[in-house]
Amino acid sequence: MTFDVEVNNLSLYYNDFAALNDLSFKLKGGKIHGLLGRNGAGKTSLLTLLASYRQATEGSIKIAGENPFENAGIMQHVAFHYETDYNDEWDTVKTILKHVERYRPYYDRDYALYLVNRFNLPLKKPINKLTRGMQSAFEITMGLASRAPVTIFDEIYLGMDAPAREIFYKEMLKDQAEHPRTIILSTHLVSEMDYLFDEVLMIDHGKFVLHEDYESLISKGASITGPKVEVDAFVDDLTLLNEKYLGNTKSVTIYGNLDDARRKAAQQKGLEVGPVSLQDLFIHLTSEGV
């Protein structure tokens, strides 16, 4: 089962400060959505609203067409996982998983145990004795095994080392292929996670920046590589995102669509045209003064 998520004119104020300012977007069900934004952009604020952890100041949220707040029929299908403070949690992984099983209608016990093994989590150790990375892996285990139609991971990889994060990405893609749901991943690690996203939602200072599918977003720019002089001449009138040198070779990332004629011209000059990285676009679109 997949749920669409629709947000209309959503605002959230902390006293006078607008944490979220008039956001509107629609996330299609069954896809993985990357939520990108710098520190303090309002990512977590937005996610707490989607998870009914709090109420918006203005605007509306519809999940599967209904207002989720205090709506038992929707809230049971929305799983929100984040860096949780487990200092006072003396229960074991096994005990907590049993509780989750009681409340999540699509929870898969065997799959949860499979993930526990993949992440090398001890079943019988109190959660507060686990390392930070293991606690994150435990959150991921709960989140994936619940198979909630709307699954939200907010910077969930904190404390996890690279191999463990790799396991997370692989297992998520594998399970998503078999049991599609609406997944929202908020992250800083853009370069590491970009291949996971079907769609990208970017916010900055609480405001909507863009919402596009990954492929069309990275076609909004290109990287041009070749001899320095040729490259400089070619990109003269384009917006540069990034420049790199290696000896006489220069690689430039540009922003803006490159039409077919230009692509051909580049190839004729012996320049290599490649895709732009989401990371470069992200930095460009959310840096100050843009």
């Binding site: 707490t48 009914s52 709090r54 799983a79 403070d85 509780h99 989750v100 009681r102 999540r104």
Partner: protein, 263 residues
């Protein structure tokens, strides 16, 4: 899954977890009580039966687990996709269940106590209707170290029917649980400063609760108020206490119905 079954599930789960705590609590009280009985056998001082003995500390215990409710359970249940409303209903049911179960266990332990003492003819004199004087006489008993508000408010002081006593034990422990829950919910929603205001309010509510059962006011209050005790018939105390619990539950629901969940 419909809403009814969610709150019933929460009630079952919270009852299970809190009952586990409660059994540990009762075990410790039982050990203390047995120690008191041994002392009493040697010194000849009178001691209250288990129902009486456990009543004061059971109220404080219920206050404490009531305070824990929002912090220990609400966040957890919302994290698992349940609504605040189901949490409220479920934990109210569980609290009533805990009060009922604790009373039942304390009553059974008291009956066993009478039975054992009756059969063994140990030189212990149990007292079910300890008066203020009774408490003063037992100078080396634990009750001498507890504030008067705790031990002196014992409902059993005024009771002469066993069933009536059980009813009062249930309602009294439940009142304290709900008072704790109210304090916890106040802190959860407003933070420590306004939370302290809820503590102050709770002292008033607890005092009203105790007054309903005929307890005399403590020294400072009796100077401020025109009366120092109420004399209500049993049904008056029952109805009054139920109304008090209902009022506090309503306040708790107001505090938690749209509260922001802590992360």
């Amino acid at each position: 899954m419909n809403q009814q079954s969610f709150s019933a599930k929460i009630a079952r789960d919270m009852f299970g977890i809190q009952m586990k705590w409660s059994l540990w609590f009762l075990l410790f009280v039982l050990i203390a009580h047995i120690a008191m009985l041994i002392i009493s056998a040697k010194t000849g001082n009178r001691v209250g039966d288990f129902l009486f003995f456990s009543h004061g500390s059971a109220k404080i215990y219920m206050l404490v687990i009531g305070i824990l409710s929002t912090y220990a359970f609400m966040t957890f249940f919302i994290h698992n996709g349940l609504t605040r409303k189901d949490y409220f209903k479920g934990s109210a049911l569980a609290a009533a269940g805990i009060a009922f179960a604790m009373t039942l266990i304390a009553a059974v332990l008291s009956l066993i106590e009478y039975l054992v003492l009756g059969v063994t003819h140990l030189p212990v004199s149990l007292n079910r209707s300890l008066t203020e004087i009774g408490i003063q006489v037992s100078g080396n008993s634990i009750s001498a170290f507890l504030p008067k508000a705790i031990i002196g408010s014992s409902i059993l002081v005024h009771s002469d029917s066993f069933m009536g006593t059980l009813f009062m034990y249930i309602l009294n422990t439940l009142t304290y649980y709900v008072v704790g829950w109210l304090i916890g919910a106040g802190f959860y929603r407003f933070g420590w400063l306004i939370g302290l205001g809820f503590v102050a309010m709770s002292i008033v509510l607890v005092t009203i609760g105790d007054l309903l059962w005929g307890t005399k006011l403590g020294e400072p209050l009796s100077h401020w108020l025109a009366f120092d005790s109420l004399d209500l018939p049993l049904y008056g105390s029952l109805v009054g206490t139920i109304a008090l619990i209902a009022l506090m539950l309503w306040l708790i629901r107001l505090l938690t119905r749209d509260v922001m969940i802590k992360m």
